[in-house]
């Protein structure tokens, strides 16, 4: 069974806590999509904020999204990913 992780960081370029999360991810060689919302143009910022609010209604920064993409059916892996004992 194939599992992939998609990691996205919603951040502000000015926020020191966002920087701490980035440093942590980089120290552990984790690849991630870095979305610095304050650097987007106003239209993109609006769309991205809406997207962020689906995960974190408070839209606070940093918000890290770790999504596991599971392909095919493998009961053990599904249980592990979903926390089913």
């Amino acid at each position: 069974m194939e599992k992939r992780k998609r990691i996205r960081l919603y951040a502000l370029s000015t926020c020191p806590r966002c920087k701490q999360v980035k440093q942590f991810l980089e120290k552990h060689n984790i690849e991630y999509e870095d979305i610095e919302v304050d650097l987007l143009d106003s239209g993109e910022q609006w769309v991205t904020s809406k997207e962020l609010k689906k995960y974190n209604p408070d839209a606070t920064y940093p918000t890290l999204i770790v999504e596991e993409v599971i392909l095919d059916f493998d009961e053990e892996s599904l249980k592990e990913a979903l926390g089913i004992k």
């Binding site: 502000l12 370029s13 000015t14 926020c15 020191p16 806590r17 920087k19 919302v37 304050d38 910022q45 904020s49 209604p57 408070d58 839209a59 606070t60 920064y61």
Partner: protein, 109 residues
């Protein structure tokens, strides 16, 4: 203004209010750079830990020191961004937790 210059100004301001700047200087200097970047791009020093709209009237409540600073320090010992803190917070007598966002959602950019 340089980040160091702003640090000096805000240290004095904090002392005048009976509070302190976070003793984690490296972290605080990151906030100073963020404040100066916002000053440069928006014309005012909005909170670097929040998304500003770029419209001063809309961002008035999050211009540093934000209007939420006092209740946050009273309740958690620290402002939302972790810049202004109480002495007890700096001395580790108050548990350091993530300060929840007090700003109403409808005001967010």
């Amino acid at each position: 203004m340089t980040p160091e210059g702003l640090y000096e100004v805000l240290s004095k301001y904090a002392a005048s209010q009976g509070i302190e700047l976070n003793r984690d200087k490296e972290y605080v200097m990151g906030i100073m750079r963020g404040l100066l970047k916002n000053q440069e791009r928006y014309g005012y020093r909005s909170c670097p830990c929040r998304l500003a709209s770029g419209i001063k009237e809309k961002d008035a409540d999050i211009i540093c020191p934000c209007v939420y600073k006092d209740p946050d320090i009273k309740e958690y010992g620290s402002c939302y961004c972790g810049l202004y803190v109480s002495r007890q917070w700096n001395e580790g007598k108050i548990k350091h937790i993530r300060v929840p966002e007090r700003r109403p959602k409808e005001k967010q950019a």
